[in-house]
Amino acid sequence: MNASGGGDDAEPERDPEGQLELRAAPNAATEPEVLPQRQPSLSTGGRGTLATGGPPGHKARSLRDAHRDLLTEAVASIKDVSDVGFLDDELAKDRFKDAINVAIEVYAKQRELDRVLTDVPELKLSTLVPYLVEPVESIADDDFNKCFESLESEPWNWTLYMYPAWLVGCFIRYVVLFPARLFNLIFATVLTVIAVASCKILFAGNKQKREHVEGLILTLYAQAWVASWSGVVKYHGTRPRMAANQIYVANHSSMIDYILLLGVHRFAVVGQLHPGGVGLMQTHLLGSLGCIWFDRKNVKDRDYVRKSIAEHVARADKPPLLIFPEGTCVNNEYCVMFKKGAFDIDATVHPVAIKYNKLFADAFWNSRQESFFAHVLRMMKDWCLIADVWFLEPQTKRPGESSEAFAARVKQLIAKQAGLKCVSFDGYLKHVKPSERYRAAIQTQNSRFFRAELQDMRGYLKDDESKRNSVLWKREQRNHFLRALNQDERKT
């Protein structure tokens, strides 16, 4: 097993440019849900960020869009009355123009929406302080790594009467259950290997028949795996069926996700090819299912994968394709960004939500900490594995919906059903450094703030009373506008 890149079935499709589509708002520490479609909006530590308190979502987004449409319209009609001659007072004219400009400014810069300014323009040392608190905060705790943290077990057995109970439990788990389960699994493995090998000989001439029988054997074999963890798996919803033009997408915590699903129906999976024993099983045992394996680090593989997926999906006689769009194992508490690859193809998407009950076993495979076999053996020593699997209503892309938006919508459905928290991080950041572009984007946005503040300061520091008032008035209007907008958003 390799520890570095290992561990995660991955979704290959990502455009090389946007490979680090991390759209996280560091400030949204308390509210990890970030608008999925919002452009890399990294709200920096401006003071008083109101929007982070509200629950952004699709509704908030569309509200914002609606506001913008109204404004654009309003602005367009005002341009017709370009001389604003309908206002007599000079000051009123100025203010009116200012108000419009402010509104345009607000909408032109989405990100600036989050910032409520001080009443009086100021550039002070304290203006800079939030910018330094923010990185320190992410040293103390960061949202990204929270998605990949294993369950912390709280000691519960250090009392006089619990301790013997725990010892008895240990004895049963390690000495009775574990060897029995291990034996069963080895027995099943041997049987499966023999059966698959004999299929290859028996049905050498009839490929279709061979694949069908092998699929049935593998389904049984997957059930043997589930039994080795005393798996109590409840499946909800309509069972999968063979058909063309369909893709199953699921949230991802471990390779055992695939085993659970394989126990109900044959699935071809798209995933990272592992070295060693796991790799052998991937290529030889699962060969008949038409799984698509690739190397995440190999850029050339992407085209091959894209083509193979399209070919596979088009055929009705192949087992349905299963994709984990997160591209990496998450700890089953969070749901990271869904990569859009699976949603680019013109196929019906069947969302599958998987939720593990962590009472007796933690099913999250932390590939940094343990090899896959250690992970599997650990669960065999636990009491049992409890999981719910929901096959949700199939979804299709709505007219005019982008692949990203579609991916985000399906992710919401899955996260809601499985009770996971949505975050917008790209899971690939586990393996690669974030690109410089993100820092550059934050810098551009910071510079807007400082430039605007500088301009206000210039006006404010002038001796001209009316200039000063106009700066104050502009800020007041802007803040008033923002507060109203943010309140609206919170209502929805």
Binding site: L128, P135, E137, F144, R439
Partner: protein, 173 residues
């Protein structure tokens, strides 16, 4: 069970808690965090290890943060972060912020220091003239003795309302 804190003996925890005004619970949590960040288990944080926090690596002030947090051991780590706890004194917070801005460590926050900070924050998006103007405005606001630089005394004097310590609070629990 409890293996994560095994190498941190309770006397150490108590001592550090006393030094840093944190609760033993917070020390334990920070220790877990430190171990997670210290991937190669060397006992101190390297720049590469800090890069592994994506949010931090994207932060414009990352270079400055690295200067401060690079090669700190656990004791120093606690000391640095405890500044941002609720129980830390106003002086400690001010001291940290002042040192953070005083990049050349000459005891004054000068316009060169600020321009450097602003360059990190804004990249090349602002002109040299704008950078200078902004840094001058910031210094003018705090420069009580009008010598063109902000000394530590100036800094404390202009923060009579305690804004700095209000801003410098993060949750360590």
């Amino acid at each position: 069970m409890g293996a994560n804190t095994s190498s941190l003996v309770s006397e150490d925890i108590e001592e550090m808690a006393r030094e840093s005004n944190l609760s033993p619970r917070e020390i334990k949590r920070l220790y877990k965090r430190f171990q997670k960040l210290d991937r190669n288990q060397s006992g101190s944080l390297e720049a590469d290890e800090l890069t592994m926090i994506p949010e931090l690596a994207m932060n414009p002030l990352f270079p400055r943060i690295v200067q401060i947090f690079e090669s700190v051991n656990f004791r120093e780590f606690v000391k640095l972060l405890s500044v941002f706890s609720e129980s830390a004194s106003e002086e400690a917070k001010r001291d940290f912020v002042f040192r953070f801005f005083d990049i050349d460590q000459d005891g004054f926050v000068s316009s060169t220091d600020l321009i450097e900070i602003l360059l990190m924050l804004c990249g090349s998006n602002l002109t040299q003239g704008e950078l200078e103007e902004i840094s001058q405005l910031i210094i003018r606001d705090a420069d009580m003795d009008k010598d063109g630089m902000v000394s530590y005394d100036d800094f404390c004097a202009c923060d009579s309302l305690g804004t700095i310590s209000q801003l410098c609070q993060i949750s360590l629990a």
